[in-house]
Symmetry: C2
Amino acid sequence: MADVAREAGVSGQTVSRVANGKTNVDDATRERVLAAMRRIGYRPNSAARALRNGKFRSIGVIISALPTFGNSRTLDAIAAAVVPEGFSIILMPVTRPTQGEVTGAFSKLNEQAVDGVIILIEQHQLDQSAIELPHGLPVVVIDSSARYDYPVVDTDQADGAATATRHLLELGHETVWHIAGPPQSYSAERRRKSWRATLELAGRFVPPVLVGDWSPSSGYQAGLELAADPSVTAVFVANDQMALGLLRALHETGRPVPADVSVVGFDDMEESAHFWPPLTTIRQSFEAVGHHAVSALLAEIETGAEVGEPVTVPTELVVRSSTAPPPA
Amino acid sequence: MADVAREAGVSGQTVSRVANGKTNVDDATRERVLAAMRRIGYRPNSAARALRNGKFRSIGVIISALPTFGNSRTLDAIAAAVVPEGFSIILMPVTRPTQGEVTGAFSKLNEQAVDGVIILIEQHQLDQSAIELPHGLPVVVIDSSARYDYPVVDTDQADGAATATRHLLELGHETVWHIAGPPQSYSAERRRKSWRATLELAGRFVPPVLVGDWSPSSGYQAGLELAADPSVTAVFVANDQMALGLLRALHETGRPVPADVSVVGFDDMEESAHFWPPLTTIRQSFEAVGHHAVSALLAEIETGAEVGEPVTVPTELVVRSSTAPPPA
DNA sequence: CACGTGGATGTTTACGTCAACATGGACGGT
DNA sequence: ACCGTCCATGTTGACGTAAACATCCACGTG
């Protein structure tokens, strides 16, 4: 900066003013400074800036299971929403979502240099208790658990699951089986509860739940069990990957989809339209989730006040070829 | 820091020494300082640290198409490799890999606060020219193009594609068709060239290339064309997602896999084992790629010297149920 | 013409940390 | 007892920036 100031024949302060777009600088002077900046290749030093005014213009994202379909999409949306605001993202992966790891990541971020934190961790049951975080830093949690003290954003899991179940019922199926996500996952829990509630509301028999871990393999395993039971005609699977595994199991055991059994997934991955048969599923908008999380966090950073209401992002039923009325 | 110093009855410098684990501090004093830190909840301020010693302990990752299967896996591997070293990751997404966007992201990182940059951008043909970056910051590129001035890490695309093609030939197929990735992608180009070379080496007819864009839909489109040609008995698809689309096209047109046509993909996504039929494919280790990229970058940061040799990560053929000898 | 006003620019200082140098006391050797 | 050495600890200053305050000049007004 000093070099630029000398080159332009002004004081460092004026350079600072130009760099920050202050208005009270003469146009001619501004031009001279800008030219000098370009000539010297001046880049403001963010460390010094941060030191000076206590803001870092960056937010931290604590994330587990990054390569997961939903998480990577959400992260991308967060990134897209944050960059135009002039913020950057500091990534803090945790290998397992335990209390220890999360608080560790959090305090690393705290030392590091962030103005706020988004927590994108699927499993809420952390050592039996909600995450406890030192206060003083704005935080937004992506997850619709009510157990956090922080603003929360999530997909409307319950409505999506209810829609999926109702779709199958309306097609004429007697009841709907369910392959759930892992027990520690809050979204899995919500989808399962909502599926059950929908069945009960319609006065239908509630079959036992099969539990997977989101992976195609676990869907395949569960699918093998389901395929062996001839009374199964409709299955709501808690995500598309497990649905893929189920489809495979159904193919292998010679039960045609959708003629013999109907399948609905959840997520609507890019691949789902090309499964065999193309999968009917619940589309969720990770983009909207990421976008809302960023809005809430930035608002909190600006104003210091937490936004009270949890934000819920709606889902949409996408009907393709894996559902049909039950066999006669 | 001043508070801690007062609390412990020492000077700030001693606190600094304790915080940095210097040895020349009396044990009793150290204990006293640590206790004071805990009591006050002291966190070193990284901005000041960075300002003081010119290092940031963080690296930037410029990435496009983050939710892409390979990219998210690689990013995760980078994160995993970087965190134990005490570095953190600053994410800098670019929407399109143009020269302008990349250099923009680069200079943002430069101002921001990074010690080095990993560029994870698939398409190398940036406005007809290689990326030009201002020098002075260590850079590693993930991509095996020879056109960069920087250390480079990538999967052994050529060997993988050759292995896939040879596998099909050895099964007895007369020739192998190819659905390629987008023309701007260097990996797509490598796979295509290597497929062609393998065919030529074996003295086989080289069929025209179908070009996709990595998406399942583009694979489906290409698949429809291929399915219409009864002479097609073996297809090497440049990634698993397009292979999924091809499988769907083959199902729809009633051409059984692998009895009538064999398919080999590339990537080995988690889903591929559960496609119908389970997909034979080339597994690449994104983990290894990320890991090597980080090693190279950290070495460059430490020593200041670029590592010369490009690193190539081997692939592995995974045989499942989508390949078989051609129909009699 | 003296004075007040307001805008452009300069000067000083503090942000939190740590390297470099300074200080001071304990201990060993002669 | 004197001196040199070494180790623990303290003091000073600098990193690059921007807020707060100070200065200076042009211009308008009575």
